[in-house]
Assembly symmetry: C2
């Protein structure tokens, strides 16, 4: 990669000095020219990765420091400072994206390699939808600014305009360039991509903070209405009157759009992170092909139960949000209802996950121990984002056990918290074991390729060759190959005349493990919909941890809200990441 | 590994049902027997890793939840609850260690494989020293309990006794069993080891919390003395009088021993984590040999400058701790002095790191891109633990820029904070680039092997064969082989008669890069001692972030102390981990 001649010249020089000092000055000159050349040579890859990573982290930390100062509501730092900073970052990202597109349009030879696993059409479609909702949010913000423009900072007008431009440009970038494997100007592009990653992460943090503050204000207002008058509510409304009639509509609607905006930014930053990881990567062309998904017969129970869960979730959400604003008794009954509903959901989810694990136990397949950074990262993200929720649940357990008061939902809260912990453990085990099992490759090579499922890091997957080869060695493979027509026509158990038994060396007869696969697919789709349900609840205002008062009594207002501000966004990310991982499990099963 | 017969029996059963239903009940019986057998078979490795990891994480989180409740000083959870919980964990660990030692003593065939890279004599010696200081701490605690035993809970007496027993047993375990590669009862041992890891981590957290609380109380007392009377100080002294005369001595001395106890537990948990990672690992015997260190001539400037830094640090610490308790003016001058001293230190450290990087730039060696989980983890820990300090520094920058007051140290604080960020960036780049460079293997195979340097994760290192082979191909190798005798006798530049030129293909002459290596070794040892200095300062009470008031004005008391409680322990860990990594750099250079 990098030549040794800089060193050689240095060695040469030293020895010439000791043997013949006459030509030393000439050699020194040469040495310095060579050092200069070496310094301007390509920077080592690992170092430029670390350097750009440090740049990105520090950009994020500046933003976090500003947010912490704003959270104090002190005089020194205002929201305008933070928004100006984010606006600058977005403008820099816009400039980089324009440069990137321009240089690629100009030099057609740069448009060579693409990583087909980087994303799929449906994920980009979904992100485009989220981007559209973000654009509506920007429109509301602009409307709000126009209404109050006589008394608010112009930054509040510039920010949504830049954000809208940024969103449009970024969606264009996602559609046409996110799969690129960059091989030119690597060090510079690394900085550009990591800047984009951390700009989106900062926008995510900003969204999370705004939402948390909104919840906290609502919570304080409710406490105030109940007579706890010692909490100060900071009003964020401007000092002048709105010149249009829609201002309150704008500011109220904004909070229903926040969850989508938040998910948009975190998913875009994950995709850009994959692009960053791909810079300078040598793509293995044999693995760089899309793989077809397996067939989906017998998908009845899972989707039906999932839809029931989803429907009941929406019902619970509506009832909860309405009742929690009312009298103490109504509030307590709403919280009790939430916990009962939650326990039922979690019992079903635990059973589903445990059944899945039991099926894996009866169906021994060697685990795939090959090196796979994608899977490793997926596992770590799943595990890491569970921690927030586990901490919250253990805090609830400690609060219930140590509580002196006894509201009606005290023990249901305890059971609910324990089930939340158990459910995450079981689900993590189920997902991780699914991802670490050898994949049956039942696909027909002649079938048209359907896009591969998006996992946050799916494009980092190494070649599946090893797995494919070993899959051919398993007895199931024969089974599948012979029965593939039957499976496709759905006649497996209805045509006893067809000889579908396969004799193995041990003299036993093999059944295609279709029932097991069907059960696994049902479990995956059911868990997927349950995870969507458990994402919807906290995302749209059903957070009994704020309302039940037990934890607040044990930990105090400030510690408990700090724990929640840390744990709730992690939990939301966990649910979304589980949905993506479970979709992968569903397609692999 | 695991047989497929469970699946086969299932398949067989299904088909027998469709063909001959007479023997179905017999087959069902068989099936269930088989499933039962399969369920009791060995659990897949990845799943048992995740399962034990989840167990450990949740144990830690229960402890954290209890700590948070204690931090609130509410009536529901007291320190006795937490100490009882930790005592239980320690007793479980003791039982596991006894079982482990007993089973290994009984079955001599189990004492087979050892991972020689897992630790070294000097690191175990260091940990034994730290353990001795912990035992003194336990003795002080017991003395304190004896003095107040009429009015304090008995848990306060049981805890130090169990902790002392735990410490002694654990040191024994470290000396005789930490290198074991476990291959029997894998799943059970995994739980045992991870329990030990997280028990030590919880003891670390408990130490960090006690220390942070002590600092906060001191800080509040100081603020109270200056007239800020609105802060409540929670007195932790018992209600009765001490029956012995040494109680106050015991409780005061305790806080000087905390930093050692804290480092003891975090390092033990890192070593146990390595043991956990080693469970079931197949050790590559060719790589499982100790490697000798390189020679250390020309080590003058680095150690001298390092000692100067260390000496001045201790001077600054003493002056700071004395002056900060006095009048406002003395306090301000102490803080100013600290920042000036810090800036000088950091300028030197940045220059040293930058020189090292510059040497690497002039001395191109291909980076080692081989897979190496140890190095990867070292890099991640270094990067991850920098985040706390960076956040703290950016908060200081925001606070200074937004401040309305202007104490004398305002702008030195800004410069100091920016240098802290820069220094960490440069040092990380230097360490990581050193770890990722191909190692010259200049050792003589006939020399007696000296123990390999301990890095937190050094035992996870994969075979160096690839590196060794490639090292033979580099031109430097020839150079070194020819000059090794000279290098050893220190005559390199004093014996012009010996023909030490080596002609390369390009017709140039090669010098052994000894000067560069000497410079790198000096830089590494200087940075190492500077990092020890920067560990000593916050560990023993020099935390101007609490005292300067600027950040507290911008972020408010509770947000700023939360940031410090998170960032300061991370910074302490960063410094210690840097010391270990720089020692590795020093030995590799």
């Amino acid at each position: 990669m990098v030549e040794h001649s800089g060193l050689d010249i240095m060695c040469l020089n030293k020895y010439c000095n000791s043997s013949s000092s006459s030509s030393s000055s000439e050699h020194e000159k040469k040495t310095f020219t060579k050092i200069k050349l070496n310094l301007s040579a390509d920077y080592p890859r690992k170092s430029s990765e670390i350097l750009s990573g440090q740049y990105g982290t520090n950009v994020l930390l500046i933003g976090l420091a500003l947010m912490l100062a704003i959270a104090h509501h002190g005089p020194s730092v205002t929201e305008e400072n933070l928004l100006s900073f984010i606006t600058c970052l977005m403008i820099i990202q816009l400039m980089w994206m324009m440069w990137y597109i321009w240089i690629r349009d100009r030099k057609s030879e740069l448009q060579t390699e693409k990583d087909v696993h980087a994303t799929t059409c449906w994920i980009r479609g979904g992100l485009t939808l989220l981007a559209l909702l973000s654009l509506i949010m920007d429109a509301f913000r602009i409307g709000h600014y126009v209404g109050f423009n006589s008394c608010v900072s112009h930054v509040l007008g510039v920010y949504p305009v830049v954000h809208a431009t940024h969103t449009i440009a970024q969606v264009h970038f996602l559609w046409f360039h996110i799969k690129d494997v960059i091989k030119n100007f690597e060090t510079f592009e690394r900085f550009g991509v990591i800047h984009a990653v951390f700009t989106n992460l900062l926008l995510w943090c900003n969204g999370v903070m705004s939402e948390a503050e909104h919840f906290l204000d609502n919570h304080k207002r409710r406490l105030y209405a109940q007579g706890y008058g010692n909490l100060t509510i900071v009003h964020s409304e401007p000092d002048c009157n709105c010149t249009t009639s829609a201002c309150s509509m704008f500011s109220n609607s904004l909070y229903y759009l926040y969850p989508f905006n938040i998910e948009y930014h975190i998913f875009v930053s994950a995709m850009l992170y994959v692009m960053w990881k791909n810079i300078g990567r040598v793509i293995d062309l044999t693995s760089n092909r899309k793989r077809s998904a397996t067939k989906n017969q017998g998908l009845i129970l899972g989707p039906i139960l999932g839809l029931v869960a989803l429907a009941s979730t929406i019902g619970v959400l509506v009832v909860y949000v309405i009742h929690v604003e009312e009298s103490l008794q109504m509030r307590q009954s709403a919280i009790s209802m939430f916990y009962c509903y939650g326990i039922i959901m979690l019992v079903f989810m635990c059973s589903a996950g445990a059944s899945g694990l039991l099926i894996y136990r009866t169906d021994h397949m060697p685990t795939d121990t090959s090196e796979n950074p994608s899977r490793q990262l997926d596992t770590e993200l799943l595990f890491g984002s569970s921690v927030g929720s586990w901490l919250m649940s253990w805090c609830s357990v400690v609060a219930v056990l140590g509580s002196t008061s006894s509201p009606p939902y005290r023990w249901t809260n305890l059971i609910y918290s324990l089930f939340i912990i158990l459910e995450k453990c079981v689900q993590n085990l189920f997902i991780i074991e699914s991802l670490y099992r050898h994949r049956d490759d039942r696909e027909d090579p002649d079938l048209p390729a359907t896009p591969k499922i998006f996992s946050v890091t799916s494009s980092l997957a190494p070649p599946y060759n090893g797995i494919l080869n070993r899959a051919y060695e398993t007895p199931e493979r024969d089974c599948v190959t012979m029965d593939s027509e039957q499976v496709e026509s759905g006649q497996v158990y209805r045509s006893p005349r067809k000889p579908s038994k396969v004799l193995l060396t041990e003299g036993t007869v093999v059944e295609p493990p279709c029932t097991k696969r069907q059960i696994l697919k049902n479990i995956a789709i059911f868990l997927l919909m349950c995870n969507i349900s458990l994402w919807i609840l906290p995302a749209f205002g059903c957070r009994p941890q704020y309302d039940n008062g037990l934890e607040q009594e044990a930990f105090g207002f400030s510690i408990w809200t700090t724990v929640l501000n840390f744990a709730v966004p992690m939990n939301l990310f966990y649910r979304m990441h589980s949905v993506a991982s479970l979709f992968e499990v569903f397609r692999r099963a």
